[in-house]
Structure formats: structure tokens, C-alpha cells
Symmetry: C3
Subunit: 211 residues, 3 copies
């Protein structure tokens, strides 16, 4: 199995675990765990396949992906209480999943269209949509709205992979450095609290209109 296939399964499995952890934070029942694991694990890749015109989508062609997500949901249901901080575990698993998923997304976008721009966009979308869907369904504040470096990590990972590929770097190496680049940025942001300068409001005449 190639490194890309490993990244594919790793990204899906890790996002599925974050979905199940979100379900544990909401104290759902077993079926709720499975639902969140499936939607979070497969959501980003589903949108990627659809916009690229690769339908039926990947998990319809290979139902193993669904079974993997369900198995992970069940394992988390029975083991999540062993973890000291489920939230910290969730964000770190999410960081590794993001790194794997952004490279896979870029690779599929590149294979389908040959366009580096599309590869970067599908990589970024793929890696961030699973978490966005999870937060939306769990009714938690989306990571999009926190002043954190999240989408940027996916964007850089996808761009590094795509750029390395354009320069003729072998696929397994390009995948590896793309995933590492994404993880270095997201992990650094989590560990050191890195942020970008955010938009600063200079109040106009009606500041009450600016929420």
C-alpha cells in the first residue's frame, strides 16, 4: 500500500475519531457516535469527489470506509472515558487528520484535473470541511471563527505537496513533506499559540452596527 493510501485511511480514521469525541462531549448514544464518526470522517472527501465530478463518491464504491468509521465510533464509545482531556485529544487528532487529508485532497484534485490551483483548493476544502461539518452538527463554535491557524495549515500542506509534485519530486516524498508541513504549522499553532494578525476594527460612525 502506498504512502498516499496510508494518508487516505489515516485522515479518515482520525477525523472519524474526532467526530466520535464530539459525540462524547454531547453525551449522545452509540448511534450518535457512529453518525458523527461517519459524517466527520467522510464529509470532506465526499464534497471533494462531488465537485470534481467523481461520482458515485469513494465510499459508495468502497463501503469499507464506512465500516472503518463505524468501528472507530464504537471504540471511542467504550474508551473515551479513559482519556484525561477528550478535548485536547480531539484537537490533536484533528491536527494529524488535517495533515493527511489535505495531501490526499490535493492528490485527487490533481489527478482529476491536472490543475495546481484546483489541487490546492480541493486539498484545503477536503481537510477543513469535515471539522466544519462536525462543529456545525454538534452546535459548537466553528474552528473557522476562532483566531487560530487552521485552514492555513491545510492550505500550506496542499500547496507544498502540489508544488513538490510540479518540480518532479516523487509522489511518496511529496506526500510526506506536504503532510509534515501541514502538521508543523497546525501543531505549532496549537502548541505555541501562533496566530495571524486578525482584522482590526477601526470604528466608523455607527459602531453599534458592527457586531
Amino acid at each position: 500500500m502506498s504512502l498516499l493510501s496510508y494518508l487516505d485511511y489515516a485522515g479518515i480514521a482520525l477525523f472519524a475519531a474526532t467526530g466520535a469525541l464530539a459525540a462524547s462531549r454531547k453525551q449522545l448514544d452509540m448511534i450518535g457516535f457512529l453518525f458523527f464518526a461517519v459524517v466527520t470522517g467522510l464529509g470532506g472527501g465526499t464534497v471533494r469527489d462531488i465537485v470534481l465530478g467523481r461520482v458515485p463518491v469513494f465510499w459508495v464504491l468502497n463501503p469499507d470506509y464506512i465500516l472503518i468509521c463505524c468501528a472507530i465510533g464504537a471504540v471511542v464509545f467504550f474508551t473515551a472515558h479513559l482519556v484525561e482531556s477528550r478535548y485536547r485529544l480531539l484537537i490533536w487528532l484533528d491536527a494529524i487528520g488535517l495533515s493527511a487529508y489535505c495531501v490526499m485532497g490535493a492528490a485527487k484534485g490533481l489527478a482529476a484535473t491536472g490543475s495546481p490551483t484546483i489541487a490546492i483548493v480541493t486539498g484545503t476544502l477536503t481537510a477543513s470541511l469535515g471539522g466544519v461539518l462536525r462543529d456545525l452538527l454538534a452546535n459548537e463554535p466553528s474552528v473557522l471563527l476562532r483566531p487560530e491557524i487552521y485552514i492555513t495549515a491545510a492550505l500550506v500542506g496542499a500547496a507544498v505537496f502540489t508544488g513538490a509534485n510540479e518540480f518532479g519530486v516523487p509522489l511518496y516524498l511529496a506526500s510526506g513533506i506536504g503532510a509534515l508541513a501541514a502538521f508543523a504549522i497546525r501543531g505549532g499553532a496549537l502548541y505555541f499559540g501562533w496566530t495571524f494578525p486578525t482584522y482590526r476594527h477601526k470604528p466608523g460612525r455607527h459602531p453599534d452596527e458592527v457586531m
Copy 2:
């Protein structure tokens, strides 16, 4: 018209009615009723068709589905005040719609792929997504986050239909018992207050991190 076709129209019409009832609870105008009726009635089936690669989706091929949803939205606009408890009506219509929709979704998944796993997943997704979309757009707490048996009913209905089909039970009979199984479970959960054991938090060292 076959029993499956009846279930198809029934599921769509009932979900459209629940969408319009949600619009009535938000005191929207007539167009808001039509929008919620269309999105709730057609949402689940739209996602089902897209992931299966059956595009253009069903209501693009047959616009009658849109007109049915609009007609129901209009009827609800003028009659919802006659109902004593619109919320109770909504959840019971939703229960019947769920039962019809999960069998239809499984039947379409089976027809498109031949895979029982996919049939069960598309049946479950189809039946639950309309209500999830309705709650998301109406900014109400999603049924996903309530400790209720909801997705499970769709899952069982889809599985019973798919299993019966595998064992050679005729289509109309498999459809009927699948829908009845789903309704028995969802109806029982509503009437008797059945729930599953939910995940119970055993606090770790930082309980404030666990929301």
C-alpha cells in the same frame, strides 16, 4: 403505482409538511413556508442521488416533486393555526416521513450499487438529513443532539428492508415491513419515551474542558 412509489411521495410530502410547520413556528411569510417545505422535503433525497452519482437529481428530472412540496407549504400556511400543538404534529409527521423515506433511500441505494451496506447507509442518510437540514436552517437544536431514538429507527427500517430483500422477500412486502419497523421504533420512542444508554462522562482531571 407501486408501494415504493407511494412511500416515495409520502416521505417527501410529510417532510415538506414538517418543514412548513417549522416555518410556522418561526412566523415566516408564505415564501419562507415554501422554501422550508422544498428544502426539507427534497434535501435528503438530493444528497442520496448526488453521492450515488444519479445526477441530475430526481426533482430536476421530474419537477412535480417541487410543485407537491410548494402545494403542501401553501396548505400549511393557511391551516397550521387549526392545529392544537403544531410541534406534536411536526414530530409525528416526521416519524411517518422517516419510515417512508428510509425504505425509499435503501431501495435506491440497492438499485444503484447492489451493495447492502450502501443501501443501509443511503436509507439512513436520506431519512435523517431532511430533518437535520430543517433544524439547521431554522436554528433549532438538531434532533441529532437530543437523547432520542431517531437515526436508529431509520437505520433499522433500512436494514429490515435490505435484509428482507436479500432473503428474496417480494419488493412490496419488504418495503412494507421495513417502513413498519422504522415507525414502530420511532413511534415507540416518541410515545413511551424510549432511549438508549447515552455516553456517561467519568470526569478526568480537567472537567471544565469537557463541555
Copy 3:
């Protein structure tokens, strides 16, 4: 370039600008601006293409659309503070974007299916989904739930374009009057505060159940 192409780019660019303005109201960083610009600018058209079976979707076939949205997101990042009321600017840009997008959506629906009903539905969906997605991701109350004339404007614009087309009016003229009709209604609603009669609750016996 035809009037339809102008409307296409105009609708996308204006919605991208409203997405970036929403990001400014949430005080996101530059990447957050780009993400909101891309999702709001391209979201409605993406759903339109998918349900019509036109995949890969338009921006995969022509990545310029993505670059336009990113450029607009960057411009807004550096200039939004110059605007006195960013919220007022957002809703007026949204009104013009809505007018352009509903005609484009109807034109694409008509070209793909030949059905006036589908044309009106895709026009309405296309024009309203970008804003709905933006509000959902930004965790702001959706325009759907406000007693405002919004979807109606998109519906009328799409219907006027489609009707004019059916009566043999040349394409550029039909596009123009469709867009003007939509803008007249949405602009009037914003300027004069027009609303439709909303659903009025006549309380039943359990008013506490009716939220």
C-alpha cells in the same frame, strides 16, 4: 463578453465581497477572509451545477473564479475599515449579487433541462444559498429567518427572466429585466422596509409548546 457573462462574474464577485465583509465582522485573519469569500461567492453556483448534473462544477473547469474570489477577499481585508457601515454595504452588495445570480442560475437551469420550473428553482436556490451558507458558517441569524423579502426577490427575478425567455425576448434583454426586477424588489424591501404578511400564531391550548 455577453451580458450573461457579466452577470455571472458580477454575482460571484459581489457575493465574495459580502463573505469577506462577514469575515471582517467576525475579526478573522486574512485566510478567513479568503475562505468566506470563496464559499459565499461560489457556494450557490456549486450546488446548482451539482443538482443539474453539471460536474465537475464550473470553478473546477475554470479556476479563474477562485482567484477572483481570493482577490476580492484580499482587497476587502485591506479596505473594509474605510467603510462607514460594513453591514449596510454587505446587504446592498448582497442585493445586487442576488439580482445577478438569480438570472444566471435560471439561465443555466434552462440550458441544462429546458424546464421553466427547474429554471426558476435553480435561479432561486443559486441566488439564496450563498448568503445562507455565509450566515450559517459565520454563526449569524440567517436571512431566511428574518421577516424580509429576500428569497422572493430571487424568485421573481428568475421567473421574469424565464418567462421573458419563453415569450421569445432576446437573451440579453431577458437577463437585464430579470436582474432589474429582482433588484427592484430586494432594494425596495431594504429601502422602504417592505415585508409580506407573516404567519400569525393563534394560540392553541398549549402555547408553551409553540416556540
